[in-house]
Each structure stands twice: as structure tokens, then as C-alpha cells.
Symmetry: C2
Subunit: 486 residues, 2 copies
């Protein structure tokens, strides 16, 4: 039974929350009186469907059911979590909370507010203990950060449950321990925005020049290390104190300057809007969203490869979801069905097809599952023995495309104490898109030499090899690259 | 004849400049009276050698010659460009400039200063016209941004020459049209630093929490779009004006708050240094540098795939060098060196070795680079034609481990209008860890059929194929899986 989240207030932020819950398998009920809400959320969801799965290396759960409620009461009924993203007006938020808590007084209630502190949100609430700030960052379906801000009135257990729940939908809940205006991240954004307004107003730089000054330099640093770790590295072996020691009379405490506030008027708005048109007007907003999401996927996948920053969050999220795909007992009178996979956006190359190395990846998933089946699993490897692949021959026979469901089968061609000769088929339906013939050698990893496999392993492997002798030998076994067909 | 740059002042910034010039084929002469300068620059150079080539898809030029000069006069002799990165003391910079201009009054003279304006640097100079700010960002060998700031006294032609020269070493010169304290980017850094000092001082957040608030959210946005383009997208179809319209009474002009200045004292320094130790102390600075550089490479390669932001700079830099490559004619007496890679944590399997499918990934990186070299690049694919891999044979010959530097070479075994038979070696040092024999077919993607490659492509491919006929045929070409050695 899918879990249910209620999203109060649609738009870009509410829609982003809805998309994140839906793609993580939750049912979502949205309440938003705007007649355009369904279209708007549909657009955000389309972007999310085109991007979020590209970050996953395990099959996504079935998408939850999206519904639109006529009333707040209907939306929150049976919900395990409620996220409020209505306009930034405190009186409106108070009215919405009162209505929510009439029918769901004990349900976790997060607010997307950037402008209000949780103690302000809680004023006059029926149950202030379950109300807190859960401040996300656009695009909500991709960026992991959610600032979770309780007030002293918030129930600590409710906050812990909320954080765990946010982790379950792939987010990084940052617990802000003391409430403060603008939480943490937006304080930086406001400081930078103030400076940027000055620079444009005084004609020092255009919006485009300012964006280049950020994305060609420190923006790249901040996406992976933030502020302090970056400066720690800049300080060299002497570390953080050394970095800070350089601030002295010669730099005249630079952060003590530049605190004037520019006047914000129509003239400035027009100036900025005009420059922004010149900079980005050749792309529609829809195009820019896709470009942004594609870039974010690239960054986050790079971090995932390196198990760092946001990539660490992605890996942990995969671990949670990695289901044991094989509880069934394999039948040894046919090639063994060893893996089920889905072609994810991250597996696609610039031709729009599954990228070459992913076929071998799919084969590895299949042969690894076979090795686990015969007992050559991670514990066995930890004991110092393993099967190494010595040689592979891949035939590309068809094309796998985005979203295709693939299965991997394993047929044993031959086996003895040290050698394991297998033939893996990667199938789309019943048609092979690739076949991979492999020779594996059993090795003593410490000695770096082949040796006989453990009796346990052989006791499982050899009967399968014997049974597979009766299977037809695949035509391409023994084939070399470029060989003419017989 | 290699061009020469003079680097006055070593350290992390001067060393970064030296590395960038050297790896782009320039000779570099360094002057720095610090007896540790040679060691320090050597360390920066080692980092640069391990990372910068990973951004290039064309072979790097031969590294320039690094020398250390006894005097400024010796360092600048014959230099086409001089970069000053001494300590941030104006009197020191003036003395250095006077000495430089005694012997090289007309040479372009950029300063790495973040603290001084160009008009201040030019005071009392023999030739102020060639002096300007060229403010880089650490790590200088990777990040493309250099803020180029002239004063009214600077010679506009000199500034244009300097910008062109910086592009030639792969940088993005951002012309700051009016001089101003802290140029552009550092004004943002100072504003953020001030806010961060407050948050730590007041116990709102630790250094680690602040770094997470940045790198899990807006840091990822800023690395690819900067500030204004990000907000433009957030504003939706209604655009920038709509985004700014949301600032109104309800948000109380947020950037007008938070302008107080925290007191900077030993207590605050100790607090920050202690938190930073707790956050990052498990890594040495050398490790953090490598992690940072590896992450930056991941980001920048993701942007390069998408031809966006810093990735556009990388592509343009490749284009400049590819032209050189064809004018030189690739050395056909050896397999072509087409790729340099590093084994990343995400490439490692549970055996602690590079995972099997990554060898094919490495081969794809190599063959893709070869395809780009012969003009079958992404534009060509966009036009509806491509090379598809029909068949591959992989020999696993060695073990690659975490952090290993790998190179990929490509030898053409045979080629005609439709077929391309190649042999890729993945090398650790000079030893192959894997070889991959592949048959690629040229296809009309729409028709789904093989067809002849474009004349342009064949005009590049066939001479290489002809030249490679003289190379020894690799022993394993034509081998099938499990074949006994001859």
C-alpha cells in the first residue's frame, strides 16, 4: 500500500515536492485553488520524469498516483506527511494551518517558507509541535537540500521522523538547530543578491558578466565543497588558521565593507530584466529548465562516481532501495535468469541508445548474480578468492533505448576447477540486444595466481555446468571480431 | 620555439599559473626568493599534471620547460607575458613592477591581486599602459575564470592581447570594464564570508553545516548558470520581472537586512579552525586537493558534454588545439594517444579493482576521441550519421586500481568506406591493463542501415589507416574467447 503525501499549494515549489514524492512511489494529493494548478504541476512533473531517474542506479519504484483535492480536508485525509508551499503571507499560512489541523492535528506539517521562522508559523496553532520549516531548493525534484528548522515548541521526535522521511525520498535534511531569519542558505543568497544589484545598478557589470564571474570560478568550487572546506584547501598544509591569518591590515577586513543597501526601484528592475533578456532570451524558460536539469544531473552523477557531497546522498538512497531481485529458485534446465534491469537516462549516449559500456555493465550484473548463486559472493572475496574475467567477446545485436526493461541470462559453456566459461544474453523481451561470451579464472588474490575454487563453490557450479551441456551451444561461441558468418 | 611566460611570486597562485602555462606548452621562468618555492611549485604542478589533461579531448602539447631564475631581470628576459602573484602589499608590488619594467617595459604585466585596483598598481610605473589585473581562481590550472581589469591608463590593445593570450591557455578572461574594490567575484565571496562568520560566531551553524547548505543546494545551481539565469528560470515563463515582483512587502526587502559586521578576533578564528578540523581533518590537504580537482573535472566534463558554461570554454580550447594537431599531422609511427583517465572511486568493484565494464568505458572514451578526431563528432551525429560498434573482444591483462592514471591508444587495423576495425590499448604507464578489439560500422541512423562515411571523415580516416598498416599487428587481433596461445 503506497504512502500518501499532501501538497498544499502547487506552483514550482509545490509541484517539485509532488514530483519527488510521486517518483519515489508515494501517492500525492494536491490542493491548490488556482485553476492552472493541474497544468503547472504537470509541467514540473514532466521535467522531473525526464531527469530524476537518471540519478538512480536501481530500478525506480512504480510511480505513485497523483490526485487533485477539492478541499484541504480531502487532501490531508490519510496523509503521512503534509507540505505547505502557499504564498509568503503569514496570515494566509496561519489560516491554512488551522484548516489542516482541524482534520489532521497530528500529521507532520512542513512549510516551504523562506521568509518566516517556525515560531511564527506555529502562532495560535492547534498543535504547534508537528509544525516545522522544510525549506527546499528549486528544482526540488533534483537538489537534495531541505533545511529542517524546528522552534523550541516543535516536538523533537516529530522532527526526527520528518528527517527520516525526507531521506526516504532522497533528500538531505539539514537540521538548523536555532531558528533565524532566512534560515542558513538564503542568508548567503540575500547577501549575494544585494551585491549583484549594486553592480548592475552602478554599471560595473551586466547580469551575464556576473553569471560568468560565478559559474566560471567559485560556483564550480561550491557545488562540491562549499565555503570552508574550499578555504581550508586554499590555506595549504598549515590549514584553516593559516588561511584566516592572511586577513589582516593588508586586506583591510574586506567583509567589513560593501554593506550599503541599494535602492530597489522600477528603473533597476527594468535594467536587470533587459540585461537578462539579452543574456538568456534566446532560450525559452522550458529549454532553460531542461538545460539546468541536465547540467545538475551531470554534476550529481560526477559526485556519485566519486562518492562525495550530493553524490553520497544518491548512493545512500540507492542502497535503501536495492531490493533483492532474486528470491526465486533458478531452474537449471535453461539458461539461468539472473538479472532484471531498466535502461536509465544515465545509460543513454548521444546517439539516444544505451551506451556501449552499459552492455558489459549489464553482463557484469548478470555474471555477478551467478557468482553469488554458486557461493562466490562478497564474503568469499573477503576470504581472498575470486573469479576474475580474463576475456570477453561482445556481439551488439539490437538497440536498447530509454526505459526498456532488460533481463540477463547466464549459460555455462564449460567449467572446471579453475575455469568458468559462460555465455550471457541481455534480452529485451525475448530478443537478445547483446550477447557476451566470457572466460573467468578462479584466483588466489593474494598470490595473484589461478587456483582451484573452493569445494562448496564447485559443488554448486559443476552440476549446473553438467545440466547446461544439454543446451544448444550458442552460434557465436568461439567467434572472433570481424569473422564472416558461416 | 615555445613561448615564454615569467611568473613572479610562487606559492599556490603563482604555481597554478606556472602549471597552466607549462601544460599548455609554454616555457616558464619563476622568480621567488622563498627557498621552498621549487618544492611548492612542484607540488602544484604534480596536481595539475594529474588533472588538467583529463579535461582535454585532444592530445596535450609537449609540456614546456620550467626554470627558476635568480633575479627578476633573468625571469622576464624574452618573456611574452609576465604574471605577478607576490604578497598583497602595495609597496612590494610597486617595487617588483619597477624592477620588471627596467628590463621589460613593454611586456604584458598581469597581477593576481584581489585587493588592489589597477590604477593603484600603476602608480609611478615606467609604463602603466601594460599593467592590469588578471585575477584567477584557485585551482588556477583548472578553473577558467580570470578577471581582467584595466584602468583608464591601460592600453586597450594590450588588454585585448592579454585576453587572447589567456584564451590560448584555456582561460575565460572576464573583462571588468570599470575598476572597483575586489573586482566582481570577490565582492560576492566577501558578502558570503561575512554572513558565514556571523552564523558560526552566533552558534547557528557549524562550518560543516554551512558547507552542506551550499553544496547540497545553490552551489550546484551556480556552477552552471550563476545567479541571474537561475532566478530567471525560477520566475517561470513570466521571466525576470516576475521573479523580482515577488520581492515586496511580504519579503521585507530581504537584502536590506543582515548588513552588520561581526567582530573578527582570536576566539572566532579558533572556533572556525576547530570546527573545520572536525569536518575535514580526516583528510590531508593533499588528499582534499585531489578530491577537489577530481570533482571539478567531473563537473567540467559534464558541462563539456553539454556544451555549456565552463564546458564551452573547454570545447573552444580543444578546437584551437585540434587545428594545431592537424597542421602537424598526427605521428603515424605509433598508435594514437587519444585519452587520459584516472580510476575514480566509483569505478572500483568489491574486489578493489577497476570494475569490468569500466574497461569498455575507457575504450569508448578512447574510440570516441578518435571518432571526434576524424570529424565524426556530435555535430556529425546530429546530422544523422554515426559509427556503431558491432562487436568487441576484450583481453584483461592487468589490474587497474583506485587513482591509477590510465591512457588509451587507438590503432587502426583496417578501414574502408563503411567499416572501421580498431585496436584500443588501455595502458597503466607503458603496460596494457586491457586491450579491446572493435569492429565499428558507419550507419545512416534514420534508415537504420550501414552506408559510406562522409568524404571529410574518410579524408581524415584513410590516411591514418594507411599509416597504421606499417605498425605491427597486435597478437590478439582475430582471437576468440578461450583460444590457446600460439
Amino acid at each position: 500500500m503506497a504512502r500518501k503525501a499532501a501538497i498544499i499549494g502547487g506552483g514550482v515549489i509545490g509541484g517539485g515536492w509532488a514530483a519527488r514524492f510521486l517518483l519515489n512511489g508515494w501517492n500525492v494529493s494536491v490542493f491548490d485553488p488556482d485553476p492552472q494548478a493541474e497544468r503547472k504541476i504537470g509541467e514540473v512533473l514532466a521535467n522531473a520524469r525526464a531527469s530524476l531517474p537518471a540519478l538512480s542506479d536501481v530500478p525506480m519504484p512504480a510511480e505513485g498516483k497523483l490526485s487533485f483535492a477539492e478541499t484541504i480536508t480531502e487532501a490531508v485525509e490519510g496523509a503521512e506527511y503534509i507540505q505547505e508551499s502557499v504564498s509568503e503571507r503569514l496570515d494566509l499560512k496561519h489560516r491554512v494551518f488551522a484548516q489542516i489541523q482541524q482534520s489532521a492535528p497530528n500529521t507532520l506539517l512542513g512549510s516551504s517558507t523562506s521568509g518566516f521562522k517556525p515560531s511564527e508559523l506555529q502562532e495560535n496553532a492547534a498543535n504547534p509541535g508537528v509544525i516545522f520549516v522544510a525549506h527546499p531548493f528549486n528544482p526540488v525534484y533534483l537538489l537534495p537540500l531541505a533545511e529542517v528548522v524546528p522552534s523550541p515548541k516543535s516536538d523533537p521526535q516529530a522532527i526526527e521522523r520528518a528527517k527520516e522521511l525526507l531521506r526516504e525520498i532522497g533528500m538531505f535534511p539539514l537540521h538548523v538547530r536555532k531558528e533565524i531569519d532566512a534560515h542558513i542558505a538564503d542568508r548567503f543568497l540575500e547577501a549575494v543578491w544585494r551585491e549583484a544589484l549594486w553592480l548592475v545598478k552602478d554599471g560595473i557589470a551586466t547580469t551575464e558578466e556576473i553569471d560568468e564571474a560565478i559559474r566560471m570560478g567559485f560556483g564550480l568550487r561550491w557545488g562540491q565543497m562549499g565555503l570552508f572546506e574550499t578555504y581550508r584547501v586554499a590555506g595549504g598544509e598549515a590549514g584553516m588558521k593559516h588561511f584566516m591569518a592572511q586577513f589582516g591590515p593588508c586586506l583591510q577586513w574586506p567583509w567589513t565593507k560593501l554593506t550599503d543597501v541599494p535602492e530597489f526601484n522600477d528603473e533597476l528592475v527594468d535594467l536587470i530584466a533587459g540585461q537578462s533578456d539579452a543574456q538568456s532570451g534566446m532560450h525559452t524558460i522550458r529549454e532553460l529548465e531542461r538545460i539546468r536539469d541536465s547540467n545538475l544531473i551531470g554534476f550529481m552523477r560526477a559526485l556519485k562516481d566519486r562518492n562525495w557531497g550530493a553524490g553520497k546522498v544518491l548512493r545512500e538512497h540507492d542502497e535503501r532501495r536495492r531490493a533483492d531481485l532474486f528470491s526465486e529458485n533458478p531452474d537449471s534446465s535453461a539458461p539461468l535468469l539472473m538479472s532484471r534491469m531498466q535502461v536509465l537516462p544515465g545509460w543513454i549516449d548521444y546517439n539516444g541508445h544505451m551506451t556501449e559500456s552499459r552492455y558489459l555493465f549489464a553482463a557484469s550484473e548478470t555474471s555477478d548474480a551467478f557468482l553469488r548463486l554458486i557461493g562466490a559472493d562478497m564474503d568469499y572475496v573477503a576470504g581472498g578468492h575470486s573469479y576474475y574475467t580474463a576475456e570477453s567477446h561482445i556481439m551488439h545485436l539490437g538497440e536498447a533505448k530509454l526505459g526498456d526493461a532488460l533481463t540477463g541470462t547466464c549459460q555455462v559453456i564449460g567449467a572446471d576447477e579453475k575455469r568458468l566459461h559462460i555465455f550471457v544474453r541481455i534480452l529485451k523481451g525475448t530478443e537478445p540486444v547483446a550477447t557476451i561470451e566470457q572466460m573467468l579464472l578462479h584466483v588466489d588474490m593474494k598470490a595473484g595466481k589461478t587456483c582451484a575454487a573452493a569445494p562448496d563453490v564447485l559443488a554448486r557450479l559443476l552440476p549446473i555446468a553438467e545440466a547446461h551441456k544439454s543446451l544448444p551451444r550458442p552460434e557465436s561461441v568461439g567467434r572472433h571480431v570481424g569473422q564472416r558468418k558461416a
